[in-house]
């Protein structure tokens, strides 16, 4: 710590801080336009000029000057105020001052400072800018006439998002922020640049002219898309969520969001939302009353084990716990599951046998503390973009080494120093086993590993997985596998990350055990910056596992429930929020199964493809309309409160389950808080938690690890002559099937596609946007071709989110599907 004097106040600040940070830390405000606490100091705007006595009273920028012991700083002498006024005059000289039509007005740093410093007139005269405004994309409007050249957009795009879409172009008075070749903005549309822009140069188009900043009610919430658990501030007017607002102090991610979190909120107030319960009468869904609908549901739920339930892990912990309680105690069925049953098996089977717990023994915060990251599949960026930003920052700012094992290249592969090993799809487990074998052979094993149960068996069983043998089947070089294993073992702190989800059938219990083995053999777990982070797909996937909402004690798992529906063993199927028709493997089978059940009950926000087949449809509530808790992928339990009032005809799933429990003769808990009290008493790691103690930041549920070494089975993928390997996955703009109802994501990525390598495209005479018929043994589907350089030859990729051309018509749950293409 350093002692210094700011405006006659004795203050202390960390040695590494700048004058600006020291002042902010001690509650002294220095005006600034070009600073954001996530970005490196830049010194562009010259508003933060201060005088330092030791520097002979010269005016120096506070944001780039480090503090020194005994420094005497003055932040508001008449000279400084005069200088700042002039800075503002010069900034306003070319600024159009079109505040009445600028959406930033009210939240504009330049406007606020002009008001604060009473800059009423301008001594200078000059022409205004006449830059062309970029309206070329549907999400971000770029009006460079208003720009003050603080460079925050360019810096956040480079330093955190690592996309580099924006930069300074030209020099002197001509300087402006632009894209390559002064072209239109075409990026991944995370909107980070919009969030940090101090003026109205970069604006969110979905919110354009919708409301003024000052008329918005700001409500804090937690994002309802992926499992990262990002915090949101929703901007609400007239009970409608109109935008997401930026708060640089919010959450571990400091307000940083991805395209889904920032632009995907429209589903909350979509006019496609269900407005009343519906019953199937004479083959058609007709509107009904809650009383009638719930009575019919309750009657059909009295069937014991012939009743099954599927829930989406987007429900709150309270709802999942209550749903489970209803199924077990009031219905008397053990058949309930989420995420198709296999998408959580990495946690519920893999980690349970390898780590003795169904949660990841690492947190997102460990990324920055690590020395080496091993990422399985570049898709980790697409599934969890904000975790991707953390990786970007770690690699760029902290020189963390990044090794990637993937079946295709991706954005993470472009990071400086990133080493990507592109293997044949489906050979991850074998490669990880070969890495373990290599670690054993090279005597890099940690001393603690020998005493872990299963060590001797593992050593014996790994004999078959020599790097050379695995290299041959995985398309890698043995030396590369050895080197990857060596660098992982040699790093003092290393973290393994891998995404799971319905699209990643190969990321199962076997893969989880394979990565766990590496961590256990090298002793890289249960320590800061070490461990394995299994990135759960949806916002409460980890919570659903913690609540035990999956097949246990002989209950049927998700896929077996579908089979049992088709076979007639399940007569009533209650689906809360899932859309199995699109997101579960094998479209034809799921369709037949859903058609075969006697009573299909769907509670959802929208009339999804699945809901359209239902006998009873119940309109449920989105995350913005209910109270509860979500558990993020690193087991941070966060409390959400209703941000808007729900519409009169909708009921939250909590209310639906409560009403059904009452009808089935049970007593439901009084409110979500009472249910959470039950949860905290019964769930390991949740002890002592209450809504009050969770606060605004949430609380981590501790993870207790008891390691064991298990040999994971690796299935060999046999390539067929003349066919391509199809891998499916998530695309950056979407999460599950919900984001189809968010306008932002649909503007950027409205439909499914087939990504194909240049060489394959050339061979098959396919060019971009060509419709291609993809055929597998399960069926065929027509997708648009997208020719990219990231795909290896012989491998094609398709995202699974879209109902219009569902990829599950050709995919039946295998990690790799052999397909043929026809134009």
């Amino acid at each position: 710590m350093v002692n210094l004097t700011i405006d006659d106040n004795q203050v202390t600040a960390p040695k590494s801080s700048t004058i600006y940070e020291a002042a902010k830390l001690n509650g002294i405000k220095i005006p600034i336009l070009c600073h954001d606490n996530k970005l490196k100091p830049f010194g562009a705007c010259r508003m933060c000029l201060v005088e330092v006595e030791q520097m002979k009273g010269r005016q120096i920028p506070a944001c780039t000057t480090p503090v020194t012991e005994g420094m005497i700083v003055r932040t508001a002498t008449p000279d400084i105020v005069k200088a700042r006024k002039m800075v503002l005059e010069l900034l306003l000289l070319n600024h159009p001052i079109d505040c009445p039509v600028c959406d930033k007005a009210g939240d504009c740093d330049l406007q606020n400072l002009t008001y604060e410093y009473k800059v009423n007139a301008n001594r200078f005269t000059d022409e205004k800018f006449h830059h062309k405004i970029d309206y070329n994309n549907p999400l971000i409007e770029r009006d460079m006439n208003r720009c003050v050249l603080c460079g925050k957009c360019a810096r956040i795009c480079d330093e955190i998002v690592s996309f580099g879409a924006l930069t300074f172009i030209d020099r002197g008075i001509e300087t402006k922020i632009g894209c390559e070749f002064e072209d239109a903005l075409n990026c991944e549309f995370c909107g980070s640049c919009v969030s940090v822009c101090p003026v109205g140069s970069l604006l969110a188009r979905p919110f354009k002219f919708k409301a003024r900043f000052w008329s918005l009610t700001k409500r804090k919430s937690v994002c309802g898309y992926c499992g990262t658990g990002c915090n949101l501030t929703l901007g609400i007017k007239d009970n409608k969520v109109l935008t997401t607002l930026y708060d640089e102090n919010q959450g571990f991610h400091k307000g940083q969001l991805c395209v889904r979190g920032r632009f995907g909120y429209q589903f909350i107030n979509s006019n496609k939302r269900l407005t009343a319960p519906m019953l199937r009468k004479e083959g058609r869904l007709t509107e009904s009353t809650w009383e009638e609908a719930l009575q019919i549901v309750a009657d059909h739920l009295k069937g014991g084990n012939s009743v099954a339930a599927l829930a989406t892990p987007r429900l709150t912990n309270e709802e999942l716990a209550l749903f489970k309680k209803m199924m077990v105690e009031n219905v008397g069925s053990k058949n309930f599951d989420h995420s198709a049953g296999y998408a959580h098996s990495a946690l519920t089977e893999g980690f349970v046998r390898s780590f003795g717990t169904s949660a990841s023994p690492a947190s997102i915060l460990d990324i920055q503390k690590s020395d080496l990251l091993l990422v399985i599949k570049t898709d980790a960026y697409e599934t969890h973009p904000v975790i991707g930003f953390e990786i970007n920052m770690g690699v760029k700012n902290r020189d963390i080494k990044l090794n990637i094992l993937s079946d295709k290249r991706g954005k993470l592969s472009k990071l400086p120093g990133a080493k990507t090993l592109v293997h044949r799809p489906g050979s991850e487990v074998a490669i990880l086993n070969a890495m373990a074998k290599s670690i054993l052979d090279d005597k890099l094993v940690d001393a603690s590993a020998a005493s872990v149960p299963g060590f001797a068996e593992l050593v014996k069983e790994l004999a078959a997985f020599t790097p050379e043998a695995v290299a041959a089947q995985s398309g890698l070089k043995a030396a590369d596998i050895k080197q990857l294993a060596g660098s992982y073992a040699a790093a003092e702190k290393a973290l393994i990350l891998f995404p799971i989800g319905q699209a990643y059938a190969g990321h199962n219990a076997e893969l989880a055990s394979a990565v766990a083995n590496l961590a256990i053999l090298t002793g890289k777990f249960d320590k800061e910056g070490c461990g394995v982070l299994c990135m759960a797909e949806k916002n409460n996937s980890q919570g659903a596992v913690d609540m035990g909402f999956y097949a246990q004690n002989g209950g049927m798992d998700g896929l077996r429930i579908i089979d049992a529906c088709a076979a007639g063993a399940v007569k009533t199927l209650f689906i809360a929020g899932e859309n199995p028709l699109i997101s579960y493997p094998n479209h034809t089978k799921v369709k037949a199964a859903l058609g075969a059940v006697e009573c299909l009950i769907v509670a959802d926000l929208f009339l999804t493809e699945t809901a359209a087949m239902a006998d009873v449809v119940l309109p449920a509530c989105s995350f913005a309309e209910k109270e509860g808790t979500f558990t993020s992928t690193d087991r941070r339990v966060q409390h959400i409160e209703p941000a808007i009032r729900k519409s009169a005809q909708c009921k939250s799933d909590f209310e639906i389950f409560s009403a059904l429990i009452t009808k089935l003769g049970g007593t439901p808990p009084a409110n979500p808080a009472a249910q959470f009290a039950e949860i905290s008493a019964a769930t390991p790691g949740y002890a002592g938690m209450s809504y009050l103690s969770l606060g605004s930041e949430g609380v981590f549920a501790p993870v207790a690890v008891t390691p064991a070494l298990v040999l994971p089975k690796s299935a060999a993928v046999v390539a067929e002559e003349g066919s391509l390997s199809l891998v499916i996955g998530s695309v950056l703009y979407h999460s599950g099937t919900l984001s189809q109802y968010g306008e932002g994501p649909m503007h950027v990525c409205p439909e499914g596609y087939l990504e194909i390598s240049r060489k394959d495209a050339l061979l098959k005479n396919i060019t971009d946007n060509d419709p291609v018929t993809v055929t597998s043994s399960a069926g065929s589907v027509k997708l648009k071709a997208k020719v990219t350089s990231r795909m290896p030859d012989g491998v094609v990729f398709a995202p699974y989110h879209f109902g219009a051309a569902p990829v599950n018509t050709i995919w039946s749950g295998a990690a790799v599907t052999m397909v043929t293409l026809a134009k």
Partner: protein, 134 residues
């Protein structure tokens, strides 16, 4: 005091007013002359055949009676305009703050004071009714 004196004094005032110009008007046959700064019904100013209003929302923000409803729209040139501009005249207190707040001189108050009507919905003046008449 003589009890008759106050009566005479009163009658004196009455008689004096018989020869003065009356303060009342024979409305509606006689019309009042409204002052230039009279605050009557609002009008939206027009320039180049378009309402000057840019839908900045300052008038609904400043309005103490919350009687102004503005909804902005985006026209073909991506410019902002008032797609909806309504004043609920039953709530309006004719304070003139909206005129004062307007940064583009888009609204003024006219001498129009005959605002009686038959149904409540007729008191909500839409943009069409507010646009200045040529």
């Amino acid at each position: 005091m003589n009890p008759i004196t106050p009566i005479i004094n009163g009658m004196k005032i009455t008689l004096k007013h018989m020869f003065m110009k009356p303060v009342t008007l024979q409305y509606p046959t006689e019309r009042p002359k409204v002052a230039a700064r009279f605050r009557g019904l609002h009008a939206l100013n027009v320039s180049h055949d378009k309402a000057k209003c840019v839908a900045c929302y300052l008038c609904p923000t400043v309005c103490p009676a919350k009687c102004i409803t503005v909804e902005a729209g985006e026209d073909a040139n991506h410019d902002k305009f008032a797609a909806v501009y309504e004043i609920d005249i039953l709530r309006c207190i004719f304070c003139g703050y909206c005129v004062e707040a307007c940064p583009v001189d888009a609204i003024r108050m006219t001498g129009e004071f005959e605002l009686a009507n038959y149904s409540r919905k007729d008191f909500v003046y839409s943009k069409d009714r507010l646009l200045e008449k040529k």
